[in-house]
């Protein structure tokens, strides 16, 4: 068990609920956002899927249009959330080497990967696009963050599907503990693409387009895909200054010998269950052992890195009791982060 004490000093979010902490807070008190509709290819023509789509238009509050030229939707989402998190946290270390950048993603910038494939798949290999190729690497978002935000510390991109958030947080905790950096711009990003929509339709058939997500109905497939980004500014907890939002003080990623090993009975948990039947039985086992559980995935949709929104929600709520943010993979791995006010 890793028991760091990490201060959350800034939060930036963009997703199906809107963008910014204030819109996330508003979404918590209002009816769930209504997903957009997107057209997908099917065996018999086309159909529609619901999608929690992220709008990055607020990015122009932070950057000139020319700076954003050539930057794809995936990196734009990350840039918006990261910029909001930095603004929210206020001034950081004067030395740009002292800030690390860590980005977790389930699938990476696949829309740009497919654009790159488009460039040569029919026209021939000589027509491959260098611009699309350069932006299709997984660390493109982290690279744009370091370039445009002028951060020269270490950078890391992690892609561990459902365990991406907790896996990456473990390394964030190590870097802060070692004193490698004084602050980490830590975030997640995942995007929707037509290929994801098509695959969704093929894999879930008639269940691909539910009326609404029912994430605590663990035997049903009610997932609606989401996209977006969520960033935090993290620093080591200090006695001299209180965190703006909250502290993370327990991070686990892997297979516990028992749920009780990491999650005390009677704890309050936010589960990242997102309507996927393949993870349902693992969440069901956890929820059975708890008396107080919430689930907010209908605010942001089904995505591998959705757990980060739960951490943001836990930090915003500032509850007296610790809040355990829990994610399960379809093989039974558990990703857990506890968030405390003090």
């Amino acid at each position: 068990m890793n028991r760091p004490r990490i201060a959350i000093d800034g939060i930036g979010v963009v997703g199906g609920f809107g963008s910014g902490v204030e819109q996330l807070e508003a979404a918590l008190h209002n009816a769930n956002p209504v997903p957009s509709r997107v057209v997908v290819q099917t065996d018999s023509g086309t159909d529609e899927l619901s999608l929690y789509r992220a709008d990055t238009s607020r990015l122009e509050e932070f950057f000139q249009k020319r700076e954003l030229r050539r930057i794809d939707h995936y990196a734009r989402m990350a840039l918006l959330a990261a910029s909001m998190a930095l603004k929210d946290a206020g001034p950081g270390p004067a030395e740009s080497l002292s800030t690390g950048v860590i980005v977790a993603t389930g699938y990476g910038p696949h829309r740009t990967t497919f654009s790159f494939l488009d460039s040569f798949i029919n026209a021939g290999d000589s027509y491959s696009s260098p611009t699309q190729f350069a932006s299709s690497v997984h660390n493109a978002a982290a690279a744009y963050l370091s370039i445009l935000l002028r951060q020269k510390g270490p950078s890391l991109t992690v892609s561990q599907f459902d365990m991406s958030v907790t896996s990456a947080l473990l390394t964030a905790a190590c870097w802060l503990k070692e004193g490698r950096v004084d602050r980490i711009l830590f975030g997640v990003v995942d995007e929707y693409s037509d290929v994801l929509g098509y695959s969704w339709y093929r894999l879930f058939g008639k269940e691909a387009a539910p009326e609404a997500m029912r994430p605590l109905d663990f035997e049903s497939q009610t997932a609606i895909p989401g996209e977006g980004s969520c960033f935090f500014t993290l620093s080591p907890a200090k006695d001299s200054a209180k965190a703006k939002y909250a502290y993370m003080d327990q991070i686990f990623s892997g297979f516990p010998s028992s749920v009780e090993e990491v999650l005390p009975s009677g704890a309050y948990a936010i589960v990242a269950s997102d309507g996927r039947r393949d993870t349902g039985r693992f969440y069901a086992e956890i929820v059975r052992k708890l008396t107080d559980v919430s689930c907010f995935s209908p605010l942001y949709g089904s995505m591998p890195v959705g757990q980060a929104y739960d951490i943001a929600i836990a930090a915003i709520r500032k509850d007296e009791k610790p809040i355990f943010c829990v994610k399960c993979s379809n093989t039974g791995e558990l990703g857990l982060v506890s968030v405390r006010r003090d």
Binding site: K152, S155, E333
Partner: protein, 398 residues
């Protein structure tokens, strides 16, 4: 880095165009074997064939851990991880021991869904079966290795482009020194693919001849493929069965240029910072370094910048680029180069930097022309990636 955070290497595994297994790769390294050839794994319609370094060994094609079949990257990873785990005496592994074994894998292709057959079918409206999607989802390299052996610790697949393998080892050392894990399986894996072949060719950074890192006539890189893993454990571990120590990871540094998506900062600011950090963490001075396994891709910009940085920070220290033997194996490169660095420390010698013949007047430092003995027992291995990310590890002989 204090003694507390110096991390022992207890097992090594490697597969690349030099051969299968650390012993074979090490022997081929000092025999100066280099066999680039036109790609056989895929067809290309490019008018000029660019040589690559393919793995010729037969690879496993089934695994109980991959219901939908193994990707080539996963197969390479399993071969190298298996060798490293056996070398460390960890196989067969008894999951009831509940050791905290983490797995960290650097890769580029291994974390991207870019199946060409599937995508072409989709793009042309032919409604392909989603099996390749399921194969991708069941082939996350770190999770696959953990599942294969029943490891229950954390997994991390790193997508830091060409520095991924070095970062996997550096972060693995952090996981050990932070007491997050008892053992970490750290390395990298990447397959050759038409996608990356086209990508690097489109950037005009591939050489149509065998690559010539740091040479005046260099025209770019040759792609390669492979995998390598290191087993990392705490120094002085009291766990039963602690095997012979093969070397140490004594330091890790990483920093960004914050300059350009594909071009390195001309002054190598990120690399300077990464080297400085790695040396500071290890408590080693530049004059204690025996040699450097440079990134040395053979591209104009990389080699010029790297030569300048080595000249300024580590003057007179011999260096080479083993990419002339293996090709640029992308996410696996840092891990393969770490293994070759350990082997060279064992041998107390380095081979000549392959492909280097003519000094470039623009490069203030030149690599080893001849095989040479090296004194001391500390080396650096460097990686430089897309996005301006630089990472460096300090490797020590046992």
């Amino acid at each position: 880095m204090s003694d507390r955070s110096r991390v022992a290497i207890t097992g090594l595994g490697c597969i690349c165009s030099l051969g299968q297994g650390v012993k074979q790769c090490g022997e081929a390294l000092f025999q100066k074997r280099r066999l680039p050839a036109v790609p056989a794994l895929f067809k290309s319609s490019l008018p000029i064939p660019y040589p690559v370094f393919e793995v010729k060994a037969s690879l496993p094609d089934t695994s109980p851990g991959a219901k939908f079949g193994l990707t080539r990257t996963s197969a390479l990873a399993l071969v190298a991880a298996d060798e490293a785990l056996r070398d460390a005496g960890l196989l067969p592994y008894d999951p009831t021991l509940r050791l905290r074994i983490g797995v960290i894998v650097g890769t580029t292709i291994g974390s991207m869904f870019n199946n060409l057959t599937f995508y072409k079918g989709f793009a042309n409206g032919r409604h392909p079966e989603p099996t390749p999607v399921l194969r991708f989802l069941s082939n996350n390299p770190a999770a696959l290795i953990a599942r294969r052996y029943g490891f229950s610790g954390p997994c991390q697949t790193i997508g830091n482009a060409c520095a991924s393998g070095t970062d996997a080892i550096g972060i693995g050392a952090s996981w050990i020194s932070s007491n997050l894990c008892d053992i970490v399986v750290a390395g990298g894996a990447d397959e050759l693919s038409r996608v990356t072949y086209n990508g690097f060719t489109s950037l005009m950074v591939t050489d149509d001849q065998p690559c010539r890192p740091f040479d005046r006539e260099r025209k770019g890189l040759n792609l390669g493929e492979g995998a390598a893993f290191l087993i990392l454990q705490p120094v002085g571990s009291k766990k039963e069965g602690m095997p012979r120590i093969k070397g140490y990871i004594a330091g890790y540094g990483a920093a960004c240029d914050a300059y350009h998506l594909t071009a390195p900062s001309p002054e190598g600011l990120g690399l300077r910072n990464a080297i400085g950090q790695a040396l500071a963490v290890s408590g080693r001075s530049p004059n204690s370094i025996s040699f450097i396994n440079a990134h040395g891709t053979g591209t104009q910009d990389n080699d010029k910048m790297e030569s300048k940085v080595l000249h300024d920070l580590l003057p007179g220290v011999p260096f080479l680029s083993t990419k002339g033997f293996t090709g640029h194996t992308l996410g696996a490169a840092g891990a393969i180069e770490a293994v070759l660095t350990v082997v060279s420390l064992w041998e107390k010698r380095i081979p000549p930097s392959p492909g280097f013949v003519l000094p470039d007047p623009d490069l203030p430092a030149i690599p080893a022309r001849e095989a040479q003995k090296v004194s001391g027992g500390v080396a650096l291995s460097e990686s430089i990636a897309f996005g301006g990310h630089n990472s460096v590890i300090v490797v020590e002989a046992p």
